[in-house]
């Protein structure tokens, strides 16, 4: 893997998302934000609903962003972005990418209705979900993106999450939008390529970016990239794209590592029995096989 694209912009003074933000050490959100904004060459408006991102950028009167940022209530990332899009286009701006930038709570849960409606109308915008698999900004509560048997403060020991993670790419591609994709911060070239593809595709685009959260995952901040790489290598989080809701392109993973290798680095999975890890493995294997069967192209 090359990372030239991702780090193309070495001048911190012209980075779209500057340094000095308020993220926790090892936060996947900021890595994702930097990659996305660089992929868009800084020509973006970012609409941020309630999420870690609404803190990370800075408290008034400070902001790390060098692109317009519009903070908006929790459920409204997509619908506010649609308004910005129409407004910009009416004012003659035909080039700026309007980006809704939401966490998994604002995407999989409270913002899903507005997101569904906005992509059903095929509004020409890019929705990014930086997915840290729980409500991290409020202190680690389960969302419908939280994986099976993960600990959170609302799925405590003895009552770990019983439902598997919701498949948001399936939901988005069921809307037959032009482009939806799964990416993660461990594969920056892949991430940048997907965002560039999204930018050049008219209509609604959705990219889910797995963004590790050391605070909520109970993992070492220095391991965020490694953990997200293991998510892909264990098939917990396959990298794929769906075009027009039909053509599925899957990045192959010929030599997968056991899910235990991914889970053992995260305190949220500590204390699981062998049988429970085996249960997760079966879920992951099944989902991977289904995905391979559905894939039109495996790269």
């Amino acid at each position: 893997m090359q990372t030239t694209d991702y780090t193309k912009n070495k001048d911190l003074k012209t980075e779209s998302f500057g340094c000095g933000n308020l993220a926790c050490p090892g936060c996947g959100e900021t890595i994702a934000m930097r990659g996305v904004l660089n992929a868009l060459d800084g020509d973006a408006v970012i609409v941020i609903p309630a999420c870690c991102g609404s803190i990370i950028d800075g408290l008034f009167p400070f902001s790390k962003a060098r692109v317009p940022v519009l903070h908006t209530p929790f459920a409204t990332a997509a619908s506010t972005a649609a308004g910005v899009l129409h407004g910009l286009r009416r004012r003659g701006n035909k080039h700026t990418t309007v980006v809704a930038w939401a966490g998994d709570g604002g995407t999989y849960d409270i913002g899903l209705q507005a997101l569904s409606s906005t992509v059903e109308r095929n509004e020409d915008f890019l929705y990014i979900c930086y997915d840290n698999e729980a409500y991290m900004n409020t202190g680690i509560q389960r969302s419908s993106s939280t994986p099976l048997l993960a600990w959170t403060t609302t799925t405590p020991e003895g009552d770990l999450k019983k439902a598997p993670k919701k498949n948001i790419i399936d939901i988005m591609s069921a809307h037959r939008i032009p482009y939806s994709a799964a990416a993660t911060v461990a594969y920056p070239d892949d991430l940048v390529a997907k965002v560039r593809r999204a930018k050049s595709t008219p209509g609604s685009k959705f990219v889910n970016i797995l963004a590790p959260c050391p605070t909520g995952w109970k993992s070492k901040p220095s391991l965020s990239v490694k953990i997200s790489r293991l998510a892909v290598r264990s098939n917990v989080y396959p990298l794929y794209e769906v075009f027009d809701g039909e053509r599925l392109v899957l990045r192959d993973n010929p030599d997968p590592v056991p899910v235990g290798k991914y889970m053992e680095l995260q305190g949220r999975f500590h204390g699981l029995s062998e049988q429970e890890v085996e249960l997760v493995q079966r879920h992951v294997d099944h989902a991977w096989e289904q995905l391979r069967k559905r894939a039109d192209e495996i790269i």
Partner: protein, 385 residues
């Protein structure tokens, strides 16, 4: 040009004449025909606007917030449950200081389900930072909607225009349709809101604001809303000069020497005016004050009007359970703020679209003038139990 149009058509016509650029709306009775007509205008090209057909009122307001942030003129319309669903974003849009205009077709809130008119939906939103105007006729609906854009854009504060569900929204009256050029002269001929979201001049908007700064934001917002009273009067005067129709913030009808003043808003004022006229013919010193501008509340104006009266009876089409009618609370606050003031009585009527008939008004007058000792803090008119 004079045309026979409904209250809802008056709203749509005003939005077309105001050259609104973006509309986002969701169907709800009795608002729906506003959206339908605007869809038609956009479709046939008589209005050059983007109509975003959202999946909820919550998203409707979010979408106009996004668009208004880029500096385009925006509009939405709703009623009742839809307005309640928007509640979170009403606060957000006024805090964001966006000059959005919305028509709210007044309708009761459930449970139980009811699609007919009362004012409990919009009065419940009084603290959201939106300016509120209540209309009595279709002409007033059209004119107030036009003025709403001027007021909103001069004070960077959103404005809600109210019309009673069905009684006004679906009743056709002869309405003078303004000439587009005349409307342009009032509204500056084009969009004027600031482009807060601008890729050429990046800003971060509405970031988390600590206790060190938050109060100053709210103080600015408060001052703008308070200052909107003067601006609304100025806009109404400009409007009067252009169109020859005059709209005071608060209407006085035979209040000068009145011993009893009846207070009403919306279409019920027409019935009250009829009864006042009848009593005046009998030599009784009765008057009516109609609340048109409810936010900002014109405290000084209201106090001036009612201070000479012995008693004031407020006719409410809404109720705050556990308290009293909203209009009475505001009026007491204005009437007593300088000490003294008339006795204020509160009457609730016409909830959920029940007719308010002249006999109700006569009964109210009879009670306050001759049976005040029987009155309670809140008095229900026309109850069947």
């Amino acid at each position: 040009m004079r045309a026979l149009i409904t209250g809802n058509e008056a709203v749509s016509t005003a939005v077309r004449l105001a050259r609104v650029e973006l509309i986002a709306a969701y169907p709800i009775t009795p608002q729906t025909s506003i959206s339908e007509k605007l869809s038609q205008y956009c479709s046939e090209g008589t209005l050059d606007a983007d109509f975003v057909k959202v999946e909820s009122e919550h998203s409707a307001m979010a979408t106009v917030i996004g668009a208004a942030s880029t500096g385009v003129r925006t509009f939405t319309a709703t009623s009742s449950q839809g307005l309640a669903l928007m509640h979170e974003l009403l606060h957000w849009s006024s805090g964001a200081r966006l000059p959005i205009v919305m028509a709210n077709v007044n309708r009761a809130l459930g449970a139980p389900w009811n699609i007919w008119g009362d004012q409990s939906d919009s009065l419940a939103q009084r603290d959201t930072g939106w300016l509120q105007f209540y209309c009595e006729s279709c002409q007033e609906v059209l004119d107030t909607t036009l003025m709403a854009f001027a007021v909103a854009e001069r004070v960077n504060t959103p404005v809600m225009v109210m019309l009673d569900g069905f009684i006004l929204s679906h009743t056709a009256e002869p309405v003078q349709i303004p000439e587009p050029d005349a409307v342009d002269s009032l509204l500056g001929g084009g969009p004027s809101p600031p482009a807060l979201v601008d890729p050429e001049n990046p800003r971060t908007l509405h970031a988390v604001t600590s206790p060190d700064h938050f109060m100053e934001f709210k103080h600015h917002q408060f001052q703008a809303a308070a200052g909107a009273e003067k601006v609304s009067v100025e806009v109404a005067e400009e409007f009067g000069k252009i169109f020859g129709r005059n709209y005071p913030g608060t209407e006085e009808f035979m209040c000068g020497d009145a011993e009893t003043i009846l207070v009403a808003s919306g279409t019920a004022a027409g019935t009250v005016r009829h009864v006042v006229r009848k009593y005046r013919e009998q030599g009784k010193k009765v008057g009516m004050m109609r609340v048109r501008m409810f936010r900002p509340y014109p405290f000084d104006e209201v106090r001036r009007i009612v201070s000479g009266a012995k008693r004031v009876a407020v006719l409410e089409r809404a109720i705050s359970p556990g308290s009293e009618g909203t209009m009475a609370q505001e009026l007491r606050s204005a009437a007593y703020s300088a000490g003294g003031g008339p006795q204020v009585y509160d009457f609730v009527a016409g909830l959920g679209g029940r007719d308010i008939v002249p006999e109700d008004i006569e009964r109210m007058l009879e009670l306050v003038e001759n049976g005040a000792d029987k009155l309670q803090r809140v008095n229900w008119l026309g109850l069947k139990e």
